[in-house]
């Protein structure tokens, strides 16, 4: 009897937890079909208008495009620089390694408010105008630490003998990197890039400190929350969720098929 309870208790808690995780998303999805008018607070009837015209509310789409732009650029910068650091830290010896380590870990242990505030202090000091550039810089910095940690795990788990084998088989260091090391790091780098993009796209606190009048999607919603968020924001939130879901599911299915195909050879 006790054993039976034990078997069910974990799925039960986990099931409730998944519901907890998904309730707001279901709510956002349902209310994206609300015939809301100006404020999307209570249910006023079903409509497809919001989905047909997602840019209908002022500033929704502009802020979305801004967020996407910032996200893409910050992801490219942080992934490129972070990957280089990760490889450098695992594979090469140089002075100031300890210092580098600390410098990478510290941003992870610093709350976003402090990251945002210190960058603001710096930009004020430099007299830079807050906007697109300052946000891209801010996002690149805080995403980079996550990239480094993710990619570094991948680099450390790589067998150094593979590179030696490549060198032994007439690969110049360059060819060994391009043909062996890099392809093996790709899954880690892709994961890091996705994480970066998600963090940048969803960031509010650091953005709020360093964006001036530049509007990102989370900032738009935060500001709109006091007046009432237009239903179009729900459309975009739902669409992002569904897109992410599809991308991951397609990826999984492709990986699954590839595995199957290989087994048949």
């Amino acid at each position: 009897m006790k054993q039976k309870i034990g078997r069910w208790i974990i799925p039960a808690i986990a099931g409730l937890a998944f519901i907890y995780l998904l309730v707001p998303i279901a709510y956002i999805f349902v209310f994206s079909f609300n015939d809301a008018g100006r404020t999307n607070l209570e249910w006023r009837g079903f409509t497809l208008d919001n989905w047909q015209n997602p840019c209908g509310a002022p500033a929704v789409c502009e802020s979305l495009v801004n967020s996407l732009q910032v996200g893409v650029v910050a992801t490219i910068v942080s992934t490129a620089l972070g990957t280089c650091i990760a490889i450098g830290l695992v594979r090469y010896k140089f002075r100031f390694r300890k210092l580098t380590d600390v410098l990478i870990i510290l941003p992870l242990a610093t709350p976003e408010v402090v990251l945002g505030a210190s960058l603001l202090a710096q930009f004020l000091n430099l007299g830079w105008e807050l906007g697109y550039t300052t946000i891209v810089i801010a996002h690149s910095v805080f995403c980079m630490s996550f990239v480094i940690v993710t990619v570094r795990a991948r680099v450390s788990s790589l067998d150094p003998r593979l590179e030696e084998a490549a060198a032994d088989l007439y690969s110049t260091p360059r060819a060994a990197f391009l043909k062996v090391t890099f392809p093996l790091l790709v899954p880690g780098i892709v994961a890091a890039a996705l994480l970066s993009f998600a963090m940048s796209f969803d960031d509010f606190i650091i953005t709020n400190f360093n964006s001036g009048t530049f509007q990102t999607f989370p900032k738009f919603i935060y500001v709109a929350a006091t007046r009432g968020i237009p239903a179009q924001a729900n459309v975009i939130g739902s669409a992002m969720f569904i897109t992410a879901l599809l991308v991951v599911v397609i990826g999984q299915v492709m990986a699954y098929r590839k595995r199957k195909r290989l087994e048949q050879v």
């Binding site: 974990i10 808690i13 707001p24 998303i25 209310f31 010896k93 408010v113 910095v141 992002m240």
Partner: protein, 310 residues
Amino acid sequence: MSNTVMTKKGKIADLRSRDEIKAERRKERTGVYLVVPGLLLLLLFFAVPVMVLLSMSLYARPEGASIGEFVPALEFRNYATVLGSYWPDLLRSFGFALIATVLALLIGYPMAYLVAVRLRQHGLLQGILLVLLIAPFFSSFILRTQAWKQILADEGFVAQTMKFLAILPADGHLTATPFAVVAGLTYNFLPFMVLPIYANLGRLDTRLLEASGDLYAGPMTSFFRVTLPLSAPGVFAGTLLTFIPAAGDYVNAALLGNNRNTTMIGQVIDSRFFKVIDYPGAAALSFVLMLSILVLVTIYIRRFGTKELM
């Protein structure tokens, strides 16, 4: 340690051949090229800003200066002033963050365990649940927090049902309470707890559980004696990744809280920066927050830390 010895004349001789030294130099140079660009970014836009923040926290406001005008100084009283006024908010932030972390662990561990261990043989279901864990990241976190606000609103279904069942007094609220803020924090940072634990449990060798069962341990004993200790690095990373952002968060407090007993330190810093235009005060508070988290984290790492982290 190094490849050098003292010769009879007391000079230091390098024992390595020219080829060895050349190879080593080349290697070091490549390493430096790889690391320097990113390191520069970190130096210029993390290390230096923190220093700027520190110096700004000591700025003074001259007599009769206009709003937002400060001069460089060593005004340590700034710290006393802000701590004097805002120590309850600082404590509350850590309290809320701690409760949210514990709750996230209690909720998140079973989730991670289910997906990583129980569903190991069911690739498809495992994949779906993993997607559901990650996908919320992509539907704006503020949108989700706002959704909670509306779900828990006074006129909403949940509050009405609870009032009908007399779980909640007729004049009670769910939103604008510490409960709502902590629930929001737990909700928002739950994936940060689950994913590291999941990654760790994914590597758990289930034969160890069989061995433990073979040695007369019940499922409970096996869990507490084998699974949990082995997943400690994941739990450790998860708790840090939850606690640190939760302590500095202010979106949950702003959207789900009130003005009386839910103010978190992030809100104060934000408002001192943007509403009161008290840069030194805001900088001082930021610095206090950063230092206290570093101290707490260091103690935590010393006490429970594992080398496997990061």
